[in-house]
């Protein structure tokens, strides 16, 4: 089926982990960058995250995701390096603009934090099938209705994208200008988005009837189509991650 997840099917220990454990890792790694805000520690967490991406055989797939945040990273280094309020020690100067050491240090922490965040998140989404994650969350008590919403979006968007192409072609053939100066392009926005919106709202009407026919609103306990996967070292790994976070807090308070 044509869905739009970034999930990459590979055979690796990371893929076999419980999605919830990976979710815990994302939360823990981001939290740790705040508990221990030193470049050395954040660098360590970053290293572990990249290592896990390599073990999960998805390091190459994570690069495009990291590239997306490149602009933010550049902007952080430039703005903090030149303009951070605590700047004192000069590093180098371009004309009248001076680049400072303190700003670079601040930027280094921020950039590594962004990288940890994006890296850990990539680890989760590249090695976890969305339906597996949603199913696990529902088993842990999330409303099945929210689960339905999340999974149906992933199917709906490719459909809407197809509708969009169709409508763009149809409107162009009727003479709607989609290129030209700003005003022309602004004017083209309504005839393009209008039909897509109407179309999708009409579909919700039909879909809600179809769902209600199938007992969507039924108060009975929902059962699962897929058999539950077994995750052997689940508790151990979760305990380990929690332990490291607690250790980090203790280190910060007493160290």
């Amino acid at each position: 089926m044509n869905t739009m997840t970034l999930y990459v099917e590979r055979n690796s220990p990371i893929h076999r982990l419980d999605p919830l454990v990976k979710l815990l890792y994302v939360a823990a790694s981001i939290l740790l960058t705040y508990i221990l805000p030193e470049p050395l520690y954040i660098g360590g967490i970053l290293f572990v995250t990249f290592l896990l991406l390599i073990i999960g055989k998805v390091f190459r797939n994570s690069l495009p995701i990291v590239t997306l945040s490149m602009f933010l990273i550049f902007s952080l280094v430039i703005v903090q390096g030149f303009f951070h309020p605590d700047n004192v020690t000069e590093l180098f100067a371009i004309g009248p603009l001076v680049f400072y050491e303190e700003g670079l240090y601040v930027a280094l922490v921020l950039v590594m934090r962004v990288l940890v965040m994006v890296g850990a998140f990539s680890l989760l989404i590249l090695t976890t099938a969305t339906d597996e994650m949603v199913e696990r969350l529902i088993k842990k008590g999330m409303s099945p209705k929210i689960g339905h919403v999340i999974l149906s979006v992933l199917q709906l968007i490719p459909q809407m994208r197809a509708t969009m192409v169709k409508i763009t072609d149809a409107q162009r053939s009727r003479g709607v200008e989609t290129e030209g100066d700003l005003l022309t392009r602004v004017k083209a926005f309504f005839p393009l988005i209008g039909p897509v919106v109407l179309n999708s709202l009409n579909e919700t009407k039909e879909r809600s009837i179809a769902l209600e026919m199938r007992g969507f609103d039924s108060p009975m306990k929902k059962t699962f189509l897929n058999e539950a996967k077994q995750y052997p070292h689940n508790k151990l790994i979760a305990g380990l991650i929690t332990g490291i976070v607690i250790l980090g807090i203790v280190w910060r308070v007493f160290g």
Binding site: T5, L6, I65, L68, S69, F71, L72, S75, L76, V79, Q80, F82, F83, P85, A107, L110, R113, V114, M117, V118, F121, S122, L124, I125, T130, K145, I146, H148, V149, I150, S152, V153, L154, L156, I157, M160, R161, M164, L182, R185, V186, A188, F189, F190, L192, I193, G194, V196, V197, L198, S200, L201, N202, T204, K205, R207, S208, L211, E212, D217
Partner: protein
């Protein structure tokens, strides 16, 4: 009727199904905006429209789920702004419920308030995660300008967000308003939580 207040969590199936549609519309709006090379994102039309149609609860849910889904399918950083999207949904939902989408002028006010709220919610997030910047070129340029004029960092960060959010939200709310006004009643009626249902 207290039972059918706008904050009711008893959501109809139609209202729940509206959420994926809203997220799809968000996505399409963003796509068209970049296709037509418009200088705005227009990536919350669906959230705003859902709030107008079904109230603040659905609007907030659409906002949060939108950013989570965008996070797991394209850009993890957007997950951070799930809270902002929720605030947008709540603001528009409440104002629509109070009758602020009766005319174009009022819709502009809704857009201004929404942009302001979005900036207000984004600022602490930007401070926590990226030291006050947004990663948007115009916003960060304005941030730099403010910082170099000795404006406190959080105020500069707020300025950064305002520059980015207010124009985008005003246009987004206006577009949603025009679409909303164009919808037939048979369609708008099915989502409302507060409408009275006649029992035979």
């Amino acid at each position: 009727m207290n039972k059918n207040s706008m904050w009711s969590l008893k959501l109809s199936t139609a209202a729940i199904v509206l959420i994926p549609a809203a997220i799809g519309i968000n996505y399409i709006g963003k796509l068209f905006a970049s296709l037509l090379r418009l200088p705005l994102w227009l990536d919350s039309i669906g959230t705003v429209l859902a709030s107008m149609l079904a109230g603040p609860v659905i609007g907030a849910a659409a906002g949060i789920i939108n950013n989570i889904i965008f996070g797991i399918t394209a850009d993890p950083i957007s997950t951070v702004y799930a809270i902002t999207s929720a605030a947008i949904g709540i603001t528009v939902g409440v104002m629509a419920y109070k009758g602020w989408i009766a005319s174009v002028q009022k819709a502009v006010v809704v857009g201004l308030v929404t942009g302001f709220v979005a900036a207000l919610v984004s600022t602490p997030l930007n401070m926590i995660f990226w030291g006050g910047q947004t990663g948007n070129i115009w916003g960060d340029a304005f941030y730099t300008f403010l910082i170099s004029n000795d404006i406190p960092q959080w105020l500069a960060s707020f300025g950064d967000s305002i520059v980015v959010d207010v124009p985008d939200k005003v246009v987004t709310v206006l577009i949603s308003y025009f679409i909303f006004k164009g919808l037939p009643n048979s369609l708008t009626n099915i989502y409302r939580q507060d409408s009275e249902i006649e029992v035979i």
